[in-house]
């Protein structure tokens, strides 16, 4: 199951605030699907530090970021 958050029309630092607020709600087997205008580079070290993994698709606008708990293999398998 995925939760989609569209932050593509928000000004900094709202996108990161929304994403960080949503992270604790990710359950086992679930992942976050983010729609963003640009790659959120400053978010990545925070995700690593907090034990999350991510994949970023930058080939179209808005770009998509998939975030899941690093130890959750089911969530990872669910990401298309």
């Amino acid at each position: 199951m995925k939760t989609t958050i569209d932050v593509s029309q928000l000004e900094p630092c709202e996108p990161m605030e929304r994403i960080l607020a949503a992270l604790p709600n990710i359950q086992v087997g679930e992942y976050l699907h983010i729609l963003h205008r640009m790659e959120p580079h400053p978010l990545y070290p925070i995700l690593t530090q907090q034990g999350y993994s991510w994949i970023t698709k930058t080939n179209k606008q808005p770009i998509e970021i998939y975030i899941w708990r690093s130890d959750d293999l089911i969530a990872k398998a669910n990401i298309v």
Binding site: Q9, C13, K57, Q61
Partner: protein, 432 residues
Amino acid sequence: MNTANLALQQTPPLSVPIRFFITAPLFGILASLLLIYIGPDIFSSRWGLNILALTHLFTLGFVSMIMFGAILQLLPVVAGTIIPKPVLTSSIIHILLTVGSLSLTSGFIFGQDFLLRIAIVLLGLSFFSFVAIVGYCLIQVKGNIIIGMRLALLALLITAGLGIGLVVRFAYGITLPLAMILANIHLTWGLVGWVGLLIIAIAYQVVPMFQITPQYNTKLMRWLIPILFLVLLLWTLAYLWLENNKLVGWISILIGLGLAVFGAKTLHLQIKRLRKIPDVTLNFWRVGAVGLLLSIILWITGIIWTELANQPFYPLLLFILFVGGFVLMVIQGMLYKIVPFLVWLHLQNQQLNPLRTVNMIRIPHMKQIISPKSAQRQFWVYLIALFCSILTLQFPNLIYLTGIILLVAFILLEYNLLKALKLYRSVLISIQ
């Protein structure tokens, strides 16, 4: 698909860029004081030593200082890389640039050769080490912003090389062939190459990010900076060989048109903003783009109508419009987004670090770090100073008023930045 796990980003400590940002307005304050000190004599000679000091307080002490900080901060974001030993390296470069700029400008003001000799060494070390370190970090990465940064660094090398050559002439009394032509080439590479190209490259990143506009056109991002760089090279060669030939003028019109494309596109993107909410940064960038376009119109008119270019006010008005109206405007606008964002980001990082965090508190929002009201107030003071400086060309005695208003503008800028830093420290103490 980009598996970003492989490229773990590092954010440099806040002190790395902020030391440059905090120092820059102090040079603005010095420049304002010098303006008041020179008074109406400013109109006596374009190449007077006081004028040289004044222009370098702005271009080295304010503009290059902020550009250095901005590049060091942008490297991890656009290139996924960080300079080695960031705090030590940035401290050394910052001290070299600060003391070097002070030596150069005071050497000009007091006519002391030894200060100029010190400046040659310090500024030379600062520029060449900065270009070498940042250039090394940019070698293995690709992208339009990276190409822009690389070419801006090359332009900085050319500007610094010529600048040092010209100062050697003052400091050691060596006669330099084509000194005036080399001075004009130094000025053009500094303002259009180093500063202009870098502002364009940074705008590709910060305008869509902070002003919620659509992205710049891909073809424009790919070609504008390299074409401008090549035309600058062509202009330099033509100017060296043909001096003030008509062909040189036509080539420089091309440079103006290239910059105009950037100014017009930026205004166009701002009109197409995705969220039309009031924003002080937008005011800085709008006036900046208009200042750029006006300076280009004046530049091109001066080339076509040479009588205008021979008027004493012409080079000063061009400088006021390009540096005061465009460069300083957009740079200040950029600071009002980058500094609050960095403060917020670093506090957020601290808060989420379980090894350092004791108390979980709400991190202040960007608009609480530097209030839009304070930024807006500083914008208006600076804008009035800009208008006054243009009026000074007609009413020379207004220069004292211009200097005072400009002084207030830079004091307010410094106050706003220091207030953000103070808030950072107090929230950090609350977290830890």
